[in-house]
Amino acid sequence: MLECLEKQNEIITLKNLSVRYKNFYALKDINISIKEREVIGICGESGSGKTTLCKTIAGIEKYNGEIKFLKDLKFEFIFQDPTSSLNPKMLVKDIISEPLIVRERITKREVICEKIKKVVAEVGLDSSIIEKYPHQISGGQKQRVAIARSIVCEPDILLCDEITSSLDISVQAQILNLLKDIYEKRNLTMIFVSHDIFALYYISTTIIVLYKGMILEKGKADEVIKNPKHPYTKILISSILTTERECIDIEVRENKTKSRCIFSDRCFIYDKECDSFENELINVSDTHYARCIKV
């Protein structure tokens, strides 16, 4: 968990955001305010809409609702699969320099070379890698190249969509640490999407739990992990055993419900009370919200 370092202003606000595909909602009733230097961790299973949320903030998805930016922000995106996000026919140095040429319109070769060298060292790669093709380097190295590409232009916002999911476990830890270092050295705000809630705990300041396109819980990372309020969050946390907290008994349930609660059909604490729930986000405390009637 990272400490929020300075005083924050809201730089991105999402209000009543929804994203609709032909006949269903990929995202619904999304209200998030992102403050400067926050690391928002978005957690959820596949199909929860976390990638859609990431793409919507980046501006490549159509949405209904409102997204407000405090100022003109520079976004960068790191994708999940490094094999697909790097052009197999381009050298690493050209891959990293692409945003410099396209965004910043830098043409001087020496300037580009300098920046590439610096950023390659920062992500922990040997400088010889710049003359290689993507198929000549490992998955972890590819992802580092992708990270290098995304920070070479000094972005304001860094969006990471499951960037560790396709890597070996040992490499995942390295990448997370790298991201932490980068965050600490630069004036970045990050949005980190993952299905692994503990990776989020390690790196985020705020955690948002998504399910079927809706926010089920959101709050400071510490609170959400140590004191989860929504049953779904509890299920996610229970997936790994530690000695740090109590183990909760969780049964897998399939309820037939008439409740408007979006989670009711899987919920293990479902009962008649839930039928009257209006499926809205309830304040547990100042910064902690959960969409459950039982809080």
């Binding site: 501006g59 490549i60 995106f77 052009n87 026919k89 381009m90 692409e98 396209v102």
Partner: protein
Amino acid sequence: MNRPLSELIKKLWKNKKTKYGLIILTVYIALALFAPLIAKPYRQDNPYIVKQHSFSPIPQKPSLKAPFGTTQNQYDIFYAMVWGTRLIFKITIKVILISLLIGLVLGGVSGYYGGLIDEVIMRFTDIILSVPSLILAIFVSAVLGPGIEKVVIAISFVWWPAYARIFRSEILKIKSMDFIKYSQMIGAGIFWIFRKHIIPNAIYNVMILASLDIANIVIIASSLSFLGLGSPPGYADWGQIISLSRNWLISGLSSIEYSHIVLIPSVFIFLFVFSLNLITETLRDIFDPRLG
């Protein structure tokens, strides 16, 4: 991309059949390049007009004066074959360039933008591909009129749809890749995306098709000129020479004495196409697993 190319030539060289094909093809390329030295231009304004020794209607056997003999009206067969090689190379290269240009642009627009423009262009290619190419080329030639440039246009018109389709399907495979989305996200313009990302990844299969196609273009071009739609009379054009030979045969004045007017051009043309086929057969084997 120079290393893959030299690797390719090495692979082709190893195969015995293809080796002979490459050797023969090189001979023809030399003939085309050095035509002015091998067969001195008969007329300065247009070297493609075939040398005529005199005007007697009877074909002459090969002699010192005319190494391959002459056809009726004394057209020198050797001259015609040498300059015909140069002509066929010119036509083929022009056709490939024009068809690739049209095919890549239309296929590119179609694949990248999708939607209505994609549908329209694809229906268009479907229709052109549903008529046998020689026959459609005959039609276009009839509308455009005689002449080599017109033939080039006619064949290019029939040829580009195949390239457009292959390029489009390659683009569709690439379009969903994340590195394209990344470039779009950072605001790259369409020319940048095409130049740096789409073309280097999608052009491979198109190039393979183009190289396999060379023999077919040679055949359709010489077929068209055989049918009389192409170069003006008296031109050094393989198809035309064969057409002259055929006329002589049909006229009934022929006998075994004059078989050279058929055999020599036939062997000449056949060797060229055969050498191309030897090469493309092996090319096909090399690329087949990757074509998927």
